[in-house]
Symmetry: D4
Subunit: 170 residues, 8 copies
């Protein structure tokens, strides 16, 4: 159900793929097309800049950047475009707190939309990108409503499982 | 230059106004209309829910929620809508770290786009909201590009000021 | 020895069951009846609200809510009732510090009685709920005294074990 | 409107009075009687123990203990009674984070119901004590419902103030 | 080479034995006698008090207390005696940071000599106790000097090992 | 009432004097003689080493070292002597947390007896030094008991003050 | 005594000048020439890149970059050059901890030599830059030795001041 | 390709070798000679001092010191020389945060060039040492440029790998 690439996903290292696969899965589920690459703000700044401008030319309208440690990647991309940029902190030796602060604490003028550390954040980055695109795409907005309802139903299934495990609940 | 309300700004307490005024100023500067209220996820959940649905009916397409401490407000709003929600952590006794974590660390399924603690974050929330709306609004996208260029020129002015103060620089 | 449900236990996800089983065991040991469910402040707000009001109607007088990350669940419940609400932080990527702050740092007006992160806190949530109910239940108050004395005896057993292991002590 | 002492308030130092006065005010507002003292787990353990048993004999059913730094006071009281004990972290050089952890992270067996750092927590400690007593006191339960409604009305007043200040809102 | 008990070692739980065995080993190596027990400031305050006064009567002159979480044990002992008390933070869910703060941040009047988290701290607690006793015990002071020299020699052995592994060094 | 110097007090900078004056006052109150200097582990290592050996020759038996930031001073002194060394963390930009960790987290073999950050810790360093010397000095031990009793009486005075301020208490 | 510019100092905002003036003063004192500018990794990436390459062409051999919050500036410069880059964290709402982590936690391949938060770090950045240049400049190396000796003498002056204030010391 | 020793690598314990091997590998790859030893600021201060002066006499011009916990080693070395000193924080119970602060937060006058915690930092310490030496060594400067280009090529290889894994990207 994926359409043409509207989201650009970039990670600082291929070791971040395990986390950012959650983003890809969520965008697949929501029917939002994306491009993905590895690029480093620090090791390949020129390549990263070029990629940003290339994918914008190909139709990308939202960026998702995952990085760990001194996670400059989403801010770097945000400095190259005025499109919305979402940052996914990747946990490493300090459990992602360094990465979270490196993304969230951006200076006045250049926002990064920071989500949760690790896999929950990676999945949410996909949803947030879809929410942004859905402001101008009623079909996608409808798919987000459907996805929300499915999550709610899943909670009810899990509630029954827990009530059976403990033997308590109405 | 403001148009009809497209952004809903909500703060947990009127003591947050000092910070969130930066959001209002930025949206004014970018020509994006907004509505503003005080509503608490904890003290007035019903009022908050009603406000979300009312302003969506009036055309709001992005939310900005500022709160301190156990800052549940942006997550509360995100649970009531599939529109994008931006969270602004407000510093209090722990300098806003509690508030930042309460916003950023949302569970899988319900993202909050978290920005920096305090006034820089409040200004950036305004820019991020504009970036989101600009995905489908070419005139606003152009105003964002202009605003970015103005910021760059301001840095050059400040560079000269610093070079004069220290008497060094090319 | 459990009586009719007087405690409502709710967890944000069925993956929290491993921790909150400690609560259930403690309430079983203290002869306090309870109901349990899975409900999310963020994914199923309406279901959570309904559950709160339903179990209050069935006799629940204290709530225990466990959640991880941006742990809004106990505060959400506290916003729907004036009954006492106990929060159990569940550790995840940041070891539960985010969850602890999201519960403890509630704004003026809506308290959450926060206990320790993880299993020790989950067991203590059961004791605290029993202590609250015991203010008006002399038999339960007596069972708490007995439980306290049993813990003290267990410490003595462990003291002997350690003294034997090290071969030192009076 | 205060009735006979049902809450025992204790602080580690008279310098904590500024914070714990919020507790006293809230209990006054809710019509809950209390006794108050200064006692230190570390400097006057014997005095503290005696006070706990004395006030229980005089009818106290809930304790509120405020302390800063290595805030052992609420845990000390909880070790002397099976009545509910509420802990209020008082900010000092580390902004109260040390105090919060010293209260919340109690070992299995002896809970402390920890609330927010400083004045918001002190006020909430009063509400939580009232909620606990209200489980067996319908009149007090009703006063808590009224207090909640008053808070909600106050939020609406503040919303209007903010809307007037910014000139935006419905 | 151990003499009569001069150090009292106490741990909050037998699960702390793995860490505090380092203390016992160090005291054995330095020829300092000790008694050991399990006692909890929170679960068995009366037993803990009694033990403090009993072992002082039997000749103990320094205390070492290990505990995790809201680690009140060393402060509790320090409130019962004016002899020196050493605290060993035991790591649990927050890696011992909570325990470290609960020991180090004691209020004015009642010091706890806090050492490092976990096994290095447990060994150092033994050395520190010996250093305290050695102020009035020249033979023990000499054994501490010898132990220090042995450590220095061990570093040289390790230096050669590392130089061989890397093939570099003078 | 001060006797010959038995405690060596050293601070990393004269700006630490405001905090370490609390140590001097406490030692004066307890009748314990001391020497004081400014010496830096980093800026004057040779001077610091010489001072350690000089004051030991003049009778010093316990060291108290206060420092901020990367507070290497107490560990530096502990590396030059096997006498007990007490560390007082001095708050600076990170509120003393860096200094606390730089002292408490010493490696196996070289303990530093770390006390609280700032003035409460500085006063406690004086008490702890006195407690260490009192192991072999019955008159000093008695003065510590008297000091403890005075503190307890002071708490009672403060309790009355608070009870009068609030008009509650038995 | 300053020679031709060999150090490039850059700050993210002119509000950082108060801190980075310490760097300029230290370089002046050590006779090391420098250029200074304001440039932002996020607001003016192109200007920042151009400045790096321009000043290298004019003889700069070491960079010093000061920034607060998500402090990407030193890493940005390090990605544009293989010359040594020193980072000075500037304190803001989180006391500079975010800035410290954003600089120190650089990924493998692109180091930033991070110094202390705020003014002490800014002065040290100047010394470190001089130390780097002194590897190939014997006269500068000699000036560093002289500066070190002056610092040591200043400590002795301060020691006398403290000893006079307290009336203790040899 | 290694030349004569120009870098002195020192670790506080042979258990740090696993991390500092990354430094050795990087210096090997860049053709920079080094000496390595184990020496402790705390356990073998005299040996450490001697080693510093010995290796300087043999031609070392930059130091790299790795240590965990209260990581005084790089500061200790910096107090013995005016050559540049690089600090590598080694993670232990607090994930290296204590070590990072013990290195970065050095007082005014004695800088330590602090890099990232653990292996990425150890590798970067090698690069930074090479960058420092390359200021006066054009051949080494050229090898750094080549190494940077190799890293960039490696990122492109990884980008292709990720794009193949996900099946998306240009």
């Amino acid at each position: 159900m994926s359409d043409a690439p509207r989201v650009g996903i970039v990670m600082g290292s291929d070791s971040d793929l395990d986390v950012l696969q959650e983003t890809a899965r969520m965008l697949d589920a929501l029917g939002v097309g994306y491009e993905v690459t590895v690029a480093s703000a620090h090791r390949t700044p020129e390549r990263t800049r070029r990629w940003v401008h290339d994918v914008v030319a190909r139709g990308v309208r939202v960026f998702i950047a995952g990085a760990g440690g001194a996670a400059a990647l989403p801010g770097f991309i945000a400095s190259e475009t005025t499109l919305p940029v979402i940052g996914v902190p990747i946990p490493s030796v300090l459990d992602g707190l360094d990465s979270l602060l490196s993304m969230a604490q951006m200076p006045k003028g250049i926002p990064v939309a920071t989500v949760a550390i690790g896999k929950p954040g990676a999945a949410n980055a996909g949803i947030l990108a879809a929410q942004i695109l859905a402001v101008g795409d009623a079909a996608l907005a409808q798919r987000l409503v459907t996805h929300r309802a499915e999550m709610a139903r899943e909670v009810e299934v899990r509630a029954r499982k827990v009530q059976e495990a403990l033997g308590h609940g109405g």
